[in-house]
Assembly symmetry: C2
Homo-oligomer: 457 residues x 2
């Protein structure tokens, strides 16, 4: 292990950093289906979307043809604060596993928000400011997205109002406190300050909230407050566009050393990391220039791709947002409260869904105790405490590396390490104490959630 030609960490120089995001849709022959207006069930127009989202972001959301979008200089400067993110050669993990496989991971956790979410947060905050807005609203569950958005808004001097699911607000006070460091206002949801919040509180006085309710509150405030818009950290096409920076940097770093991955692995919740990581590689595959094996890894407790249906569904449980065509477990599906490992969204990015439906990608579901086992194994040799979400990809990568050990194949594996687990230690504690279970939803449970959906297809 002494002297390797490829360093432990490959950093691009600032001059080498990408100046454009890549829009994977431009190379897809089957484009992702459009968002539908929940009232008319007709495709959402730009005008309709602009009541909720910033104008520039609506253009990015609807553009299925332009392959590259310039990254504005101000965003590139912000990226330089925490990027280029390192591409790490996992020499220590390889040695531990005694595998002939070559393992690389793109690490996105080296910033205070602790995840890749910041890549899109700064873009969305930038366009909001450029449009002359006063602020943005959003929801957050565990708090990764809310933290990232708070950082971006704090930097740009934009007001940031976060609705945080009440049980997370109370159980994760540290995440809330980081948002306050960056000047955001954080409101536990459901709250008394919105109509929908008051309605839910009247109906369920003791509720600890849900992501669906927090979305509805954030949208209500954005729509009713002059100078405000709503922003979202995953699922949307615009988010995958911004997150393409992950894959673009990874590919540039690999290209510098003439390395071509055989297998590319990403964890999949709403698809923001997975879609960003695979983007330029998938583009090559779609254009017939190269072939790669892509694996989306999701929790067995929320198995959207592996057990969901590909159809139109609401993005929120409140059913007030537009409908997206995607793999879904049904917008009323709720993962078990015992599920600690993130990636709890019932649906999936329309882009990722379409690629999966068209056979360009595989999907695996994994159990959370095995995920934490892999996380701990990884932490001990690679020196990074991974987020539970990221650890889904770690587990799949370890499994592939073990197969190489059996077959003797020297495959090159690339996976996305989306973030750090500093705010997930309650889950690690449960794991250490043997209190973590592996709840898996029944077919009947999923069927029931899907049966509650309106027929659109």
């Amino acid at each position: 292990m002494a002297e390797n030609k490829i360093p432990y960490k490959i950093y691009l120089t600032e001059d080498e950093m990408p100046r454009q995001w890549y829009n994977l849709r431009a190379d897809m022959s089957n484009k992702p289906a459009p968002l539908l207006n929940p009232g008319t069930l007709q495709p959402m127009t730009a005008t309709e979307l602009e009541t909720v989202f910033c104008a520039e972001l609506v253009q990015q959301e609807l553009d299925n043809d332009t392959p590259y979008f310039d990254i504005p200089q101000e965003i590139r400067d912000f990226y330089k604060m925490y990027r280029p993110a390192p591409l790490v050669r996992a020499y220590c993990l390889e040695e531990k596993l005694q595998t002939p496989a070559k393992i690389y991971y793109k690490f996105e956790g080296n910033n205070t928000s602790g995840s890749h979410k910041l890549n899109s947060a700064i873009a969305q905050a930038y366009y909001a400011k450029a449009q002359g807005l006063k602020g943005v609203t959003t929801e957050t569950g565990a708090g990764q997205w809310g933290t990232a958005l708070s950082m971006a808004c704090g930097y740009l001097g934009l007001d940031c109002r976060v609705f945080m699911v009440k049980c997370s607000y109370e159980q994760k006070p540290f995440r809330r406190e980081v948002m306050r460091v960056h000047g955001a206002s954080v409101t536990p949801s459901p709250s008394e300050i919105t109509q929908v919040g008051r309605k839910i509180l009247a109906e369920f006085p003791g509720t600890t909230g849900s992501l669906g309710c927090a979305i509805s509150e954030a949208v209500e405030v954005a729509v009713n407050t002059p100078g405000y818009r709503y922003v979202l950290g995953s699922v949307l096409n615009q988010v995958l566009l911004h997150q393409s920076i992950i894959g673009l940097e990874a590919k540039l770093a690999l290209d510098k050393y003439g390395v071509k991955p055989d297998i590319i692995i990403g964890c999949a919740g709403g698809g923001s990391n997975l879609g960003g990581l695979i983007a330029p590689f998938m583009g090559e595959k779609l254009r017939g220039e190269a072939d790669y094996r892509f694996i989306a890894v999701e929790p067995a407790s929320c198995p959207t791709l592996t057990r969901g249906e590909y159809r139109y569904d609401f993005c929120d449980t409140g059913m007030v947002c537009p409908l997206a065509k995607m793999y879904t477990l049904g917008s009323s599906f709720m993962p078990s409260a015992d599920h600690a490992g993130g990636l709890r969204f019932h649906g999936m990015s329309s882009i990722v869904s379409q690629l999966y439906a068209d056979g360009y990608m595989e999907a695996q579901s994994v159990r959370q105790t095995e995920v934490f086992q892999a996380a701990e194994e990884f932490a001990r040799v690679e020196g990074i405490l991974p987020a539970p979400e990221s650890s889904h990809a770690i587990l799949a990568a370890i499994n592939e590396a073990k197969k190489c050990q059996e077959t003797g194949e020297e495959k090159t594996i690339l996976f996305g390490l989306t973030g750090t687990g500093y705010f997930d230690l309650v889950a690690y504690e449960k794991f250490h104490n043997g209190e973590m279970n592996n709840y898996i939803p029944s077919d009947a449970e999923i069927a029931a959630a899907l049966a509650r959906l309106p027929k659109v297809d």
Copy 2:
């Protein structure tokens, strides 16, 4: 701010990483005073020290003459996992302050332990393993050092027994959990498993422990368990030797761009970061090759250099460890419980103390509310949530940069950003809620603690 010749972050390549640690003592004409045996008050011999510490580390501890020590290949490989640490040009902070000063910081927080402590932890664990030991014992207060040592031992397969001050064990369960991720055993101190622990529990049944007690327990276990030694994360000469990697990398990075700092600032608790950061620069100053202004920054609540006395004292409150000649507030001095900002040690590295006594360095004490104000200001523009300890240096750097704004001088400032504040959010919360105070010990309080010391000088 668009195109700067000097990038936001300067990373050395792996080939450029230092292959030797620098021993500052070799260039000091007044050497630091030797450790004294608490029984005989005579200088501790190598044989005496080897009952507690690893043999190789004892050599490093006692060697005042050899200027460079080779870093073993295994340690260099481990360093590659999380180093080289970036030297960051704080463009965003400079812009925020509208200062002509050029601000750089060496960031040591990009690893799971979240601080520079890992630099010495891996070295001490390595020599313990090379000596054929089974394991090591240590104490930890807030948990930074314990976490770092757990990581190093977990990596090398060495048993790691940490005595964690009971109040921290209970109030900082996340730190404890990270240590468990790396396979360490963590015992709340005082415990029932040592003689000294049982004695203290019998005397003070409800006590929540102290660092001094935890040290005594860790030493007792190391001395009485075959195959174990005790290790320590600060104060000792060997620790400053290992931490010289911080300053060596910083200097190499600055030299690459022809930059020479005017002012070098480090926070000072036991002196591990400060001594490491300044080492190669101070060496130049001692040899008359260059001049720099050095500033040690300490909390007003524990003002060792600015209000302590330079004399022999115990390193532990239990008065069982060797005596060191150092600036001290008295080993029975306890900083106020309201003090949240780290750097609580009553004494100071003998090397740092001697340099300060000889006039090579300045010292400042700062109040903790101002420290947290600076921390927040920094986080918002630089995207890193700093540890309270590091934030003492941030505050001093900001103050120097503001002076430049007044005078128009384009000074170059380098400071050490020792770590991240992910596990210090209770303190940030206190700050946000206006519940943080600025307790400063009275002259009488310090005099009383000093009066309790034996006369040795």
